[in-house]
Amino acid sequence: MKNKFVYKLFFFLLIAYGLYWSAVEFIFLAHLDPAGLRSKIKSEYIQAQIPKDEVDYLILGDSSAFYSINPMKMGSNSYSAAELGATVALSKKMFQELGIKKINKGVIMIQTFIDPHYDEDIWRIFVPQKIMNLSDILSTFCNDFDNHCTWIKKATLTVKYLKYRLHLNSYIAATISYGLTTQSRIDRAGFERHVRSNVQANRGHSAAKRSFVLEDKGFYTPYLKYFNQPVNPPDSELVALRELAELVKAYGVELYLIHPQLYRAESFIRLEKYNESYRSFLHKKGNLNFHYIDLNEFNVVLDRSHYRDVSHLNEDGSTRITNDLLYVLETKYRRGK
């Protein structure tokens, strides 16, 4: 009698879990998750629209690159493959998968290395949306400078990956809640159209219209905390960066890593720790095999009207910074090429 109840309960839980998993997989993540939708559109664009035979400049990196560099201002054959929240390992994988035959001028990358790229973005978006698989996870977190990964670390990451693929994690609650509540607040079809057309029209770049308003709810705070503290990415990111630089060199061009353009005018934004740790991270393994450019050293000054928020530029900002970057590249780094 007792065992019968246990079996009944077990099968009930199994069916309930099946329903839950299907609802999350086929309703919430597939249709009702705006963050996932945006990443999917961008991935589709990168795979289908970027020419495989020849490009001038290719832009890689995270959201900072996605918003800050406008390939439309870099000639008629430059494209942005930057992804929101992308790690270097993911960018490197994407670069390899793109399989472009010829790169004429170079690869530009902006990478902020902030914490959520190694936590929330991966587990909340990339894994459930199947943009990153287990081997991507292992290459992002596991390899040290000797390309070594202990089995304990591998096992831990595998369990964590499964937890997020099976939707047994706390982030899913936010996705379900967001999916339920945004239906009445957001025009989803309009949102999808907007993201798709924006990415299409700007060759993979997103031109943000709005400007930074200090008082706006949550406009800078979510990012602010990450720039007031040192960066602490896994060492494997530096390994991936150096490997990417080698891959780019094979095309006879260079990889240019641009220091993120961050808003710094207000007194409570203190970037010293961030900037210092950023540079020391890059130099952790001796000399760089890529060009590292801090545009602030070239007196490129932006004000609040150029920003969408603390770490992302708007349309005016990206036009300005792209022009300045192009000038620096052509006059200082690529002169005579």
Binding site: L168, A173, T181, G218
Partner: protein, 447 residues
């Protein structure tokens, strides 16, 4: 804390299936396994230290038998270890739920009338019981052994009641407490994105602390009951009074009882009692405050509570309003406003602030910044001021009117389709109204 991570919920669910499957005589093993696994989930490698301390206390206390002076020294060692972590001398983070754990160790070591644990597994189960670890409510070893005898039987009533108490606790956390924290966060992170008058964060601060404590206590009570263990109620509508004395009878009941039983009464019958009960009361409040944190703020909080309780016990009766006519009700309401704003909210602010200058800054904001800006704080939260107010009313209604036992029996006796319907509605409510984006955990267990 149970409910604060998906891992813990999955673990409990699987554990419960196994628990049901096993014979009553073997069920305690599941309790033990869950407790160890949960301790590891909470504190990782530090769980080894906790289990090591359990081992040390168990064998040493067995060796010492009833030599109470020696047991007191052993208790003192436990307090010193706790103090090492609390003052961060050890240079590591305070293990989650370590204070609750130490309280339970002390109640075992300091209880003169207690027969010692028969086996290490019994004592381990008591020390790190997954139901209350990190959040309380506290219980004695005798309560544990009385309820978890050799065989553990379950009944459907306590199963459903436990489930319902847990579900209510969980909903209170994700809907009520977390939406409050979106407002109160501006108290301690002024300039975050709100620079107006802090009246509402100030007023909601103590209620948010209460909601968090209440929610975690209810989740602990609920999940323990599912496994057949009854924990004591920890909060009994502490704001439904106008007396600070009464408030302390309703607030964190098991902790206040613990301090009374293991600190106040022993001091009262010791030579120390010559200093007088008032000084002892001050000591009690200082212990209560310093348990939370070693800081000037907490010392001040303890002193203020002592003064308020002392004054209430001496002069409170003069201001009592007993009859309930229209005028008297008005008077009671004014008294309640005074009680909540002056006697509860200002000390509550001191309790939660990092330093005293912060308290001064917030209090000066309340009087210097234009009051018309106070409502703007709700622009930064998921709910408007009216929404938050309705949450308070709903919570008070649930607390005062809803008979959870009747509800549990109703659900138990309903048809499966009704049960499923209720579960679906519950899930819809918590996902729709809950605050999930921030995944903010109120760090109850740092205390």
């Amino acid at each position: 804390m149970i409910g604060s991570s998906a891992d813990s919920l999955v673990l409990i669910l699987l554990g419960f299936l196994l628990f049901l499957y096993l014979k009553p005589s073997r069920r305690f093993n599941v309790i033990l396994a869950l407790s160890v696994a949960y301790a590891y989930l909470l504190n990782g490698k530090w769980s080894c230290l906790i289990i090591g301390l359990v081992f040390f206390n168990y064998y040493t206390s067995n060796l010492l038998k009833n030599r109470f002076l020696a047991l007191n020294i052993l208790a003192l060692i436990n307090i010193l270890i706790w103090g090492l972590f609390k003052t961060k001398v050890a240079g590591v983070l305070f293990p989650l739920g370590f204070s609750i754990f130490i309280f339970q160790q002390l109640s075992y070591l300091l209880n003169k009338n207690l027969s010692r644990a028969e086996s290490f597994s019994d004592y381990l189960g008591y020390s790190i019981f997954f139901g209350n670890i990190a959040t309380g409510p506290l219980f004695d070893y005798s309560e544990f052994t009385e309820q978890f005898r050799k065989r553990i039987y379950l009944n459907s009533e306590s199963l459903y009641l436990g489930l319902i108490i847990f579900m209510f606790g969980f909903a209170k956390k994700v809907i009520f407490a977390d939406s409050f924290s979106q407002v109160t966060i501006h108290l301690f992170e002024l300039g975050r994105n709100f620079n107006g008058n802090l009246l509402f964060p100030f007023l909601l601060n103590k209620y948010e602390i209460y909601l968090n404590f209440l929610a975690f206590s209810e989740m602990a009570i609920g999940v323990s009951l599912i496994f057949g263990f009854r924990l004591k109620v920890n909060f009994n509508r502490p704001f439904a009074t106008t007396s600070i004395l009464e408030f302390w009878r309703r607030w964190h009941i098991t902790l206040v009882d613990w301090i009374r039983k293991y600190v106040f009464y022993p001091l009262l019958v010791s030579p120390v009692s010559k200093v007088g009960p008032s000084v002892l009361l001050l000591v009690i409040f200082l212990i209560f405050s310093l348990w939370h944190d070693f800081s000037l703020n907490h010392i001040l909080y303890g002193v203020i509570q002592f003064i308020l309780v002392f004054a209430d016990s001496r002069f409170g009766a003069r201001f009592s309003v007993s009859d309930a006519g229209v005028w008297k009700r008005g008077l009671i309401f004014i008294k309640w406003i005074f009680f909540y704003v002056v006697l509860v909210s200002i000390p509550g602010l001191i309790f939660r602030s990092n330093d005293l200058s912060n308290v001064g800054r917030i209090l000066s904001n309340l009087v210097t910044v234009d009051w018309s800006t106070s409502w703007d704080v709700f622009k930064f939260s998921q709910y408007s001021g009216w929404g938050i107010l309705s949450f308070i009313l709903i919570n008070e209604l649930i607390e005062s009117k809803l008979d959870l036992r009747k509800l549990a029996l109703f659900v138990r006796d309903s048809k499966i389709i009704v049960k499923m319907g209720l579960l679906f509605v519950y899930l819809l409510i918590i996902f729709y109204f809950g605050v999930w984006d921030d995944l903010r955990n109120f760090v109850y267990s740092i205390y």
